[in-house]
């Protein structure tokens, strides 16, 4: 479902993902990316500067030869814009100073790719392409010294893996934001209670029914019952996924009973014919479906805590409290 995702300023992105100085230092440490690597990369600057146009043009030619990726760059202005950014980025790889600003720039580029919907495999393919191109350039640059070429290549590999990490983080972060917005939108979706006939209501239950939404729906339904003085309510659960929050739907039914009208699950009967797997599940476990209950203790003194994960009760006595 389409949701509008507000743009996040690139500078704010680093904060949003938690990429502060400590995190960056940790990642570099993990990749064993140190000053030696920085020097070797810096030494490659002339080389990359000389060949940047050729490499980038070759890269985009490669991209555009695949219809799936060409589709993303049909707009020539977008293509030129991204090429420009890529050239800057390519040169930047060997400029040294891989600190906060470098990260912000990398995140910005990744953001553009994610926004236009470029698949992860494509941007990973980009890195593979760079490595191939630069590998051949390095071998030409250091003839007879494959060891040196390899060391330089190794440093570049470390940096590119650092970059890939940032790119993936951007993708994940933006995807999670989209999911959160969609979930919110679904929650807000007001499920209309339809009046089919005089005093007959239909409530189609669409989408995922979490506890808070179930409560909202129930409240709306009960109020409608009162307003229309309905005698029969049909809960249409055909739109529910195979393992619904049974308690949510069942509670609907019971709460409706309390209020007077007979809550008829006629729709479920129809549903059973089409989705036998649902009907089977309902038959097998008719009663309470506890789900997961997580309680957050407020104090940590000697006490018992209700924990759905299974509590080890040292007191095995079954005596109940009697007054």
């Amino acid at each position: 479902m389409a949701v509008t995702r507000p743009r996040v300023d690139a500078d704010a992105l680093a904060d949003a993902i938690g990429l502060g100085p400590e995190e960056l230092a940790m990642r570099k440490g993990f990749l064993e990316f140190g000053d030696d690597d920085v020097h070797r990369l810096h030494a490659m600057y002339e080389l990359t500067h000389e060949h940047v146009d050729v490499v980038i043009e070759a890269f985009y030619e490669h991209l555009m030869s695949f219809p799936e990726t060409a589709a993303f760059f049909r707009d020539p202005r977008l293509l030129e814009h991204v090429k420009g950014r890529q050239k800057e980025y390519f040169i930047r790889l060997t400029q040294g100073d891989y600190e906060q600003q470098y990260v912000t720039d990398r995140l910005r580029l990744g953001s553009i790719h994610e926004r236009i919907g470029l698949p992860v495999r494509s941007f990973l393919g980009m890195y593979a392409f760079y490595l191939r191109q630069i590998a051949s350039l390095l071998l030409e640059e250091h003839p007879g010294e494959p060891g040196r070429a390899f060391e330089a290549f190794h440093s570049l590999t470390k940096l590119l893996f650092f970059d890939i990490g940032l790119g993936v983080d951007i993708y994940i972060y933006q995807r999670e934001r989209t999911i959160a917005l969609q979930q919110e939108a679904i929650r807000e979706l007001s499920t209309p209670v339809l009046t089919l006939r005089d005093r007959l209501l239909v409530l189609p239950i669409i989408g995922i029914l979490d506890t808070s939404r179930a409560q909202k729906l129930t409240e709306g339904l009960l109020r409608s019952i009162r307003e229309s003085r309905a005698k029969v309510v049909i809960l249409d659960v055909t739109g529910q996924p195979p393992a619904p929050d049974r308690r949510g739907v069942a509670a609907h039914g019971r709460a409706g009973d309390r209020h007077g009208p007979l809550v008829e699950r006629g729709a479920v009967a129809r549903d059973a014919r089409r989705r036998p797997d649902q009907a089977e599940r309902r038959r097998r476990s008719p009663g309470r479906d506890r789900g997961r209950q997580r309680d957050h203790g407020l104090s940590h003194r000697r006490h018992r805590r209700w924990d759905a994960g299974g509590c080890g009760c040292p007191f095995r006595s079954s005596s109940r409290v009697t007054a």
Binding site: L222, R226, R258, G260, P261
Partner: protein, 125 residues
Amino acid sequence: MPVPILKQGDCLIASIQSALTDADLLDLRDELAERVGRYRSKGVIIDVTVLDVLDSFASRTLRMMAEMIRLRGAETVIVGIQPEVAFSMVQLGLSLDGVTTVLDLEEGLAHLDRSRRARVAHAGG
């Protein structure tokens, strides 16, 4: 504060006006059981519209009331359970099984009306 109980034909209508203590509920229970006998009522309506909480004691007592009234030959109808109260009762796991519940007083009287006609038809047939 005692709950006013009105007599309307062969029906009694207990209209709860304010929050009740446990003792008040028990008094109501006994009062209704007594009056059903005295007036030979066939139906009792308990209007709980005003009650903002129906907890375990209340639901137990209402069920008990219905049973006692049934033993005295009459039918009980609870009217006016508010949506929030219905919701909370279900969450709490309470049930009013075996007790007729309807939306409001009008419904309650209509229900007892139908029961009366069914009785008459049955007796006549």
